[in-house]
């Protein structure tokens, strides 16, 4: 086994770690917060805030 063979395994391992991190966090967030909160984003927030500020 040469260094580059180890690098291949390392790349597979790191990829799996990054993937796992995202999937686990995704399930944690989805189970802790309601769908209403997570999908509450609306465009134009800054503009609306500016309008309120000047009102």
């Amino acid at each position: 086994m040469e260094t580059w063979n180890y690098m291949e395994y390392l790349a597979w391992g790191l990829s799996a770690l990054f993937g796992l991190y995202m999937v686990i966090d995704w399930f944690k967030i989805d189970s802790h917060y309601s769908e209403e909160v997570l999908t509450s984003s609306r465009e134009g927030e800054l503009e609306a805030m500016t309008e309120e500020h000047h009102r």
């Binding site: 995202m22 997570l38 999908t39 509450s40 984003s41 609306r42 609306a48 309008e51 309120e52």
Partner: protein, 478 residues
């Protein structure tokens, strides 16, 4: 606008309309520059040289400058509209407000396809670069590129998932290094600092336009490669601290940087590499700037340009993940796609579901599709998007004339840039048709089919009133 404290802990992302969790406004003009230039700069390191193969070195220069005019029009138009329509989704959101839902749906898909395929192409390239590095370090076996391709996509998706500030600060650093590498090779080889190695006259004599003017036309296809993706700056619109300032500043500084980088790249490479070798991006010069560095005889330049090539590739893939996920997120938020995609991570404040959803799609293209096909579909989607822009700005100026709505930037000489852009898009379509007619027809057929699906099925789920939440005046004539 600046009178509002958008960095306030109590107000940030918690404004009116019921938003409980929104995207984080933390970016400045430098991040916008890094997003736009970062996506594109890989085109200077590789890909543009296919234009030389199509029509010779002079044809590649003509294509470089005409494509430069095309993208300058794109940058000016984008700067005006996006500094006003400052929301995630970029051109998709512009189309939704200015043209209509069917156009918006199509533009949203153009964006997602163009960026996801470009991301896949970059990952393939990064895998290939690591394969080359392994060979240069004396590895004699057959290196498996797949784990490195997958790692690039997974690492950058993870970075995007964790937050936009770290993502685009990372892009800023690696893009700046890649750009400085181009300046360094120009200064070192042109004769400005020390001895020059340029041989333009000797290399081009008798090969000025080897395929005549039709070669120049065909070169336009790959001339786009010098700048493809600068329009991606608009996707940061909902995450910049001051859209009216940061978006025009970052975008216009970006196109200026690219015009300089593209011209220097052409000058350096065409002055050192014979056009037959330079124009063959498969069996000849895969990475022309790196090949030029190797001929310079300087080990420092070889290393610098080697890192520049890898950094440019990573920056492009990183920016593509950012942009594709924002376009997908914006479409989900408006229910053009399932609303599930419109979720924002409550801690990292990123469109996390859209980022995760696009990972397997990028992997499928990166591991299962040939590079040239992936790039062609990316270029075609981009070209369709540019064709929409002239129509967009003409309608924007008509519906909201000057003075009726506050603009962060007003582009000059309207409607001249729109007309020039439309004409150059027509030329570029013809150039693409010469080389990839089948793909062009297939792509247009695909968009017609999905448009029918959207019109007859999906549009019933769109929340028609709730998709327009900008506090804008009514358009003229409505």
């Amino acid at each position: 606008m600046t009178q509002v404290d958008i960095t306030s802990k109590t107000m940030d992302g918690m404004g009116p309309h019921g938003t409980k969790v929104g995207l984080l406004r933390v970016l400045g003009p430098a991040h916008v520059w890094a997003l736009g230039v970062g996506i594109v700069l890989v085109g200077e390191y590789m890909g543009w040289n296919f234009a030389v193969g199509k029509g010779g070195a002079y044809a590649a220069l003509i294509a470089c400058w005409f494509a430069g005019i095309l993208y300058t029009c794109v940058a000016m138009i984008d700067s005006e509209v996006t500094s006003t329509v400052a929301a995630a989704g970029g051109q998709y959101t512009q189309a939704k407000h200015i043209v209509g839902p069917l156009m918006a749906f199509n533009v949203g898909l153009y964006l997602t396809f163009a960026y996801t395929m470009l991301e896949a192409a970059n990952a393939i390239t990064a895998g290939y670069l690591i394969y080359v590095v392994a060979g240069m370090t004396g590895y004699t076996g057959e290196l498996d590129q797949r784990p490195f391709i997958v790692l690039v996509i997974m690492f950058l998706a993870w970075l995007n998932y964790r937050g936009v500030l770290a993502t685009l600060t990372f892009n800023l650093v690696i893009t700046a290094i890649a750009f400085v590498a181009i300046l360094a090779i120009f200064l070192s080889t042109s004769g400005l600092l020390g001895g020059g190695i340029m041989q333009h006259a000797a290399l081009m004599e008798g090969h000025e336009l080897p395929y005549g003017w039709i070669g120049v036309l065909a070169a336009m296809h790959f001339g786009l490669w010098y700048y493809l993706g600068i329009e991606g700056t608009t996707q940061a619109a909902e995450e910049v601290r001051s859209p009216a300032r940061a978006l025009p500043f970052g975008t216009l500084a970006g196109i200026m940087t690219l015009l300089i980088a593209a011209t220097l790249t052409w000058y350096v490479c065409s002055g050192v590499l014979p056009w037959e070798f330079l124009g063959d991006g498969v069996n000849g010069s895969v990475a022309p700037l790196f090949d030029t560095a190797r001929l310079s005889g300087s080990n420092a330049l070889i290393w610098f340009l080697g890192f520049g090539t890898l950094f440019a590739t990573l920056a492009s893939a990183n920016g593509c993940i950012n942009d594709a996920s924002r376009a997908w997120f914006a479409m989900g938020r408006d229910k053009y796609l399932p609303g599930w995609f419109g979720a924002v991570h409550p801690k990292f404040r990123t469109p996390y579901r859209s980022i995760i959803f696009l990972v397997p799609i990028a992997l499928i293209f990166a591991l299962g599709a040939p590079l040239d096909q992936v790039i062609t579909f990316s270029i075609l989607s981009g070209l369709l998007e540019y064709t929409f822009m002239p129509l967009n700005i003409i309608l924007f100026r008509k519906k909201w004339p000057m003075g009726s709505i506050k603009r962060g930037y007003e582009h000059p000489f309207h409607p001249l840039p729109a007309i020039v852009l439309l004409c150059l898009c027509g030329i570029a379509f013809f150039a693409v048709f010469l080389g990839y007619g089948t793909q062009l027809v297939a792509m247009v057929g695909f968009y017609i089919l999905v448009s029918l699906w959207f019109h007859f099925w999906r549009y019933r789920f769109v929340n028609r009133g709730a998709q327009f939440t900008m506090p804008w005046p009514k358009p003229q004539g409505y």
